[in-house]
Symmetry: C4
Subunit: 264 residues, 4 copies
Amino acid sequence: MSTNDDRLVQSDDPDHPANLIPSLCAKFWTLGWVTGTGGGASIRDDEHVFIAPSGVQKELMKPSDLYVLSLPETLEKHRAAATGGDGPIRPSSRVYVRSPSRFKPSQCTPLFLSAFTRRGARCCIHTHSAHAVLVTLILEQAGASEFRINNIEQIKGFARGYPHAEVGNLGYHDTLRIPVIENTAHEEDLTEFLEEAMDRYPDAYAVLVRRHGVYVWGNSVEQAKGQCESLDYLFQIAVEMKKLGIPWESDIKPTVPKNSLKGQ
Amino acid sequence: MSTNDDRLVQSDDPDHPANLIPSLCAKFWTLGWVTGTGGGASIRDDEHVFIAPSGVQKELMKPSDLYVLSLPETLEKHRAAATGGDGPIRPSSRVYVRSPSRFKPSQCTPLFLSAFTRRGARCCIHTHSAHAVLVTLILEQAGASEFRINNIEQIKGFARGYPHAEVGNLGYHDTLRIPVIENTAHEEDLTEFLEEAMDRYPDAYAVLVRRHGVYVWGNSVEQAKGQCESLDYLFQIAVEMKKLGIPWESDIKPTVPKNSLKGQ
Amino acid sequence: MSTNDDRLVQSDDPDHPANLIPSLCAKFWTLGWVTGTGGGASIRDDEHVFIAPSGVQKELMKPSDLYVLSLPETLEKHRAAATGGDGPIRPSSRVYVRSPSRFKPSQCTPLFLSAFTRRGARCCIHTHSAHAVLVTLILEQAGASEFRINNIEQIKGFARGYPHAEVGNLGYHDTLRIPVIENTAHEEDLTEFLEEAMDRYPDAYAVLVRRHGVYVWGNSVEQAKGQCESLDYLFQIAVEMKKLGIPWESDIKPTVPKNSLKGQ
Amino acid sequence: MSTNDDRLVQSDDPDHPANLIPSLCAKFWTLGWVTGTGGGASIRDDEHVFIAPSGVQKELMKPSDLYVLSLPETLEKHRAAATGGDGPIRPSSRVYVRSPSRFKPSQCTPLFLSAFTRRGARCCIHTHSAHAVLVTLILEQAGASEFRINNIEQIKGFARGYPHAEVGNLGYHDTLRIPVIENTAHEEDLTEFLEEAMDRYPDAYAVLVRRHGVYVWGNSVEQAKGQCESLDYLFQIAVEMKKLGIPWESDIKPTVPKNSLKGQ
């Protein structure tokens, strides 16, 4: 297959990954998540991984700007490495089946692939949201490497994580825990730490990167986007709570009605 | 009638509930009120109740995504319960005349129905607005379960409430009072507390839910939307007032011109 | 002339007042200036005054929603009153040449007319901007009834006022002074105080209303809109300056280059 | 050539400077960067410089509103002056090949030309962003004339500057330094100080103007826009960091993975 097979990114279906990534990124740009060509998004289908290129104006991206990787081979190599193969995954294991000439591959590529191969995710979003960065700075002041918040309704927007996939979403009183990894000089070097965090937090659908942003993934595009929105909303509220002197975690006794409607 | 009668949500009239709910929710998404599939909206006409489903991306919702309930029967059962019937209304009393296969019913459904049956509302909006959540957190710190603000012009955007429906809207010097109910683990369980708050505050067109958001209703779609906008604006200003050390209530002597123009 | 002459609001020219008011108000809605049907705008041409009605959703307004007043007669009555006639202008002096049946006249009407008759303005905008309201609250805490700011570039966006119309705009080092009038229970009652403020501040193109918002006018639609934007920007910065402990006025020595380019 | 040659601003190519400047400015307006006709943008191609006029509503600008200057002659005169010619560049050296009758030339013109002639820039953007102004105010309180920030990922959005053009962009641990020049009463008088700052900061792609805004340029439109977005994002975070008591510079030890992926 040619490395510039344009048919891979041509579809009349607005839900095709090659159309969804540009429309999602344009939306994210209006939210301030992918300003100055920062951040990105990736979607995989059964065969391929579609990735926004490096350095593209995210609100103006076109389907023809996308990179496409062949997933099966990549997956296989990752699988081998994960089962005690020859060390960490290296960029050389990426097989591009489409490379737009105007751009360079995204440095986020190995991080997106981690979400796909280690978590079976279908979509991974990376934002530089100011709210996310501020939360990592507030945590840094406290010497913390974990964002924790509970008793906010929007927490219900998060799935319980892969081992508990059948259990559904987090509850209102549950504590959402998002690990924070330290930023590295080179984005690709984050991969090792991202994967470590995934191992330590098997429930997590997101990892914060100190002074950088956040990676959020999901079992579907809808779930990844919904969790990314919910998380940014929580980060925004968390920053305001900090300014107002309100703690992120609290011990709230459940309120139960006399005649619970639940489950009927 | 089929439970999937698509004609119920097909209309060329942009003011038909099946068209209005998607256009309103898309607008609310840009305001940050229904982020991450949270929040929702419902409109009733004389026969039916139209409700946004659970888990839908609110800015992308289509008329075909909507649930439709038959109101008369629901109303009758509610009426029976309200007059000392067989206890609180249970989800089993909901009669869906249209159920989209892709989605699940909104957990907000019994709360929307309370606004329709107890208050005769025509539209009910539920937002997760960060401003609303922050106001409930600030009140929690003060041990308060009521939001009170006065002497802000936008207060005039609120009706005086059902018993005083003829009297028009609140005045500038009036104190707007919005009850805060505690959040429950399951959204449907809020119904009992929402209805209690409605009983305690017969004037209120809105109820705040601690660490969750707000429910706002109105005698028309325009009124519900207008009050929801006015309230969010007041919440936004209230959070800023808190940061600036300015109290929400004040004792301001009315300013009267020498030659009042009023009433001429 | 019929009081419902639709031709007055029908034009293919996007710059016709009947088209400009809806497009401006839709823009202002996105800025949060006319939320919840609050605020408004009015434009006059040589013969007529066009005014957004009361209670309309500003982002959805249509040309057919507008009121039209006959200006000559209104002007004449105002002129008589201003020259020691029979007291303050009363609503009865308004002559509507077009009244949409769906709405009520805006309570802002006499205030807009003051800008047209006392200042010869062509456009007057009224916003409930949260920034404006917060500035009046900050000033109230300091017991002040005048907003003053200097040494911010955007101050140049303001004209010097009517007596100095030939002199052009304010300079960077000039102090912008905007009077604050106290809010009244009935918006029409503001008229007397607005006109008093106009008399005391012959230079002003805007008046703040405590806990309410701001009125801004201009010799053209472009000027009114530009000044309204510049003022809101200054209010926004002023609120942030207050939070950061930076005074609004400062004594800054002019910076002059060795070889000034000015005036060549 | 006529001074009103409309063909200079007529093109079907959306990437033509005459089309790009209006589309960029409309976008910047939504970001609050060019509110109240403030700010502006300029693009040069090999022959001409295209500049937004003074006093135009930036979100409504049309290609026909643009000024066009002949670059070769302007460049030559600048070059002569730079090599010890007859003193600073004066406005008289500007040769307009297209002057729209409705507007006046932008006072930013000599500043844009400095970016083009001294730095070989292809695009220069001037914003009045509130974040930029607040950063200069915070620095003023500290008696500082340089904005410095490090260890924030978005710093990578900046090129290393002209002498190091081959080296690529700044790294995560590098300190971004943006000079602050004092504002002058007349915008054109900033030119001398802007050029001095360019000389003192040969690496800089931007200069802050105290209490006024920022000038940002780039070797392409994409680079100028991307750097302007990245810088505004950093200013926004810097203001929030100040409110939260977090310093803009920190001494962070690089995090290095056991098996760095970089460079493979």
